[in-house]
Amino acid sequence: MSEFFKKIAEKPFILASGILGVSYSSMKRIFEGGAGAVVTKSIGPILREGYKNPSIIEILPGTFINSVGLANPGIDNFISEIKELKRNNITTIVSVFGDSIETYTQVAVKAQDAGADAIELNISCPHAEISIICQNKQLTYDYVAAVKKELKIPLIVKLSPNVTDIGEIALSAEKAGADAITAINTVNAMVIDIETQRPILSHGSGGLSGKAIHPIAVKKVFNLYKIVRIPIFGCGGVFTGEDAIEFFLAGASAVQIGSALYQDYNAITTIINIAKKYLEVHNYKSFSDIVGNAHGFETQEVPDF
């Protein structure tokens, strides 16, 4: 097991991409709160303003819709943040996107050179042009293989739930050399203001995150666990220790936490403590002891008539 995966196994809670991931200082708070690693906001080859506001709103308690549109300062402006993260000994996963195989590779290599511990490939932002990659197994293979070839550090691929078969995409990523899978990115969604009769987000549609998508993410992780051999990072709506445990039981080796942190930086500590309590009460030594435990039960395949 590589150094990176050892660290994750020790502390299998990771800050998800897109949440408080612009500045090293917010990521530092979350790392100090008990995260094993942080994933930065997705970084591209050049500065990008993204979509105008409204771009992030809470539409149900703990459930959010966003269309930020991959806003980011560009890799060259972001290198100082990566260096600052590493200066603070923070295990750093840089989320990377581009507009071609070349730019994806170029950004990933620059992040690696700046000191990143791993790369998370964002091929699945639901409201940007790059989502086309994660919808096609050949494109997924091509992008992952090309980036992997240039990397010495682990490559994680973040997948979208907005596809017919997430399994075939995951297999493609694994075949191309991905070291882990993050599942899932946000779910395609829309919210309409009934007074003005127009979509609220400036982009029209966006991605749903938070509590409402947790059961969707659990099901995707459950499916993927049967299909791929590489580790799965469960991501989507973890607000409590119970939510995290569900991911491990479904087959995740680690859990990403995002939306829940808006309330309070300490939210991550509370989630971890309650999840650890579960291990203690049920006499497990580590989270790895419960990975995939929800599998192997006989489920009813044919309804009663």
Binding site: L20, K28, R29, N53, S55, I56, I57, V68, T196, Y262
Partner: protein
């Protein structure tokens, strides 16, 4: 708190100066239609104001009353504020909030204590409800409004009506076209020293305006060992602590969540204060 943007009708518009207008709207319809639990806002809290088709921007509340009439005061500075500025009575705007932490009025315990309130230009807006609150609590106040030139003075009549003794309301203009000639910080410096000489104790200094101005005020207060509270402005997408654009280094303080009003204790930990902010892409820039 209103979490999803909800439309309200503008009920009143007051022109404060050539480029500044106050828009008032009643939020009872939102509270009733969507069963939203109501809590009185605190002076200094802000709304995300949506102008459909244009943008959504953070704006401090410049007024609220028991009738649940809320107001925002808008200065024409960009596309969104310009569109807002040109709206008419009965037009709709979307609002969500109020977000953040407002001014915390420190308890005072002697008669010769006073609060000094310093606003720079449109920064006067969130200070208006604070001033009302201080008056209600019978705390003595001195208000300083700093503007570039006479035409930019706002809330003058309102403040003169409220602040009975004339000497408690001062105006500075950079060009000397009205009141004290020079920066609000210089006026503040001379006033605070005079008050201390008179034997008055400064309970706290509250401010909103250009960050350079607040940065200087903060340092004057630090030297005099006086508590300072300033309302900061940063780019925001969410307004509730998620996007990370308004984070202050190196402490990770979020202007939208732990702020926008931050006090000396926190500001001391923020090396970004007065120096850096982030643009909409997340890139850090010098202020």
């Amino acid at each position: 708190m209103i979490k999803k943007p909800r439309m309200v009708q503008i009920s009143e518009i007051v022109q404060e100066s050539k480029d500044v207008k106050t828009f008032t709207f009643n939020i009872n319809s939102i509270l009733n239609n969507y069963s939203i639990q109501y809590q009185d806002p605190t002076p200094g809290e802000f709304l995300m104001v949506w102008v459909p088709g244009i943008d959504e921007i953070p704006m401090s509340l410049s007024g609220f009353n028991n009738n649940k009439d809320w107001s925002i005061t808008v200065k024409k500075v960009g596309e969104c504020t310009e569109t807002l500025f040109n709206l008419e009575k009965s037009d709709l705007i979307g609002i969500r909030g109020p977000f953040g932490n407002g001014f915390q009025i420190l308890e005072f315990n002697s008669n010769n204590q006073l609060n000094i309130v310093v606003g720079g230009g449109i920064g006067m807006a969130p200070l208006i409800p604070l001033i009302s609150e201080l008056i209600k609590l019978k705390i003595k106040i001195i208000v300083i409004e700093g503007v570039k030139s006479k035409e930019e003075i706002i809330f003058k009549k309102y403040l003169e009506n409220y602040l009975i003794e004339n000497e408690t309301f001062y105006i500075s203009t950079d060009d000397g076209s009205y009141g004290y000639k020079g920066f609000a910080t210089d006026l503040f410096n001379s006033i605070i020293k005079k008050e201390i000489e008179k034997g008055n104790k400064i309970n706290q200094v509250n401010s909103c305006g250009p960050e350079q101005m607040m940065y200087e005020l903060f340092h004057i207060c630090e030297k005099l060992n006086i508590t300072f509270q300033g309302s900061l402005e940063r780019m925001m997408r969410c307004g509730f602590g998620m996007c990370g654009l308004c984070v202050l280094d190196p402490s990770g303080i979020r202007v939208c969540r732990e702020g926008p009003v931050l006090d000396s204790k926190i500001l001391r930990t923020c090396t970004d204060f007065g120096k850096y902010n982030r643009d909409f892409s997340g890139k850090k820039n010098t202020i």
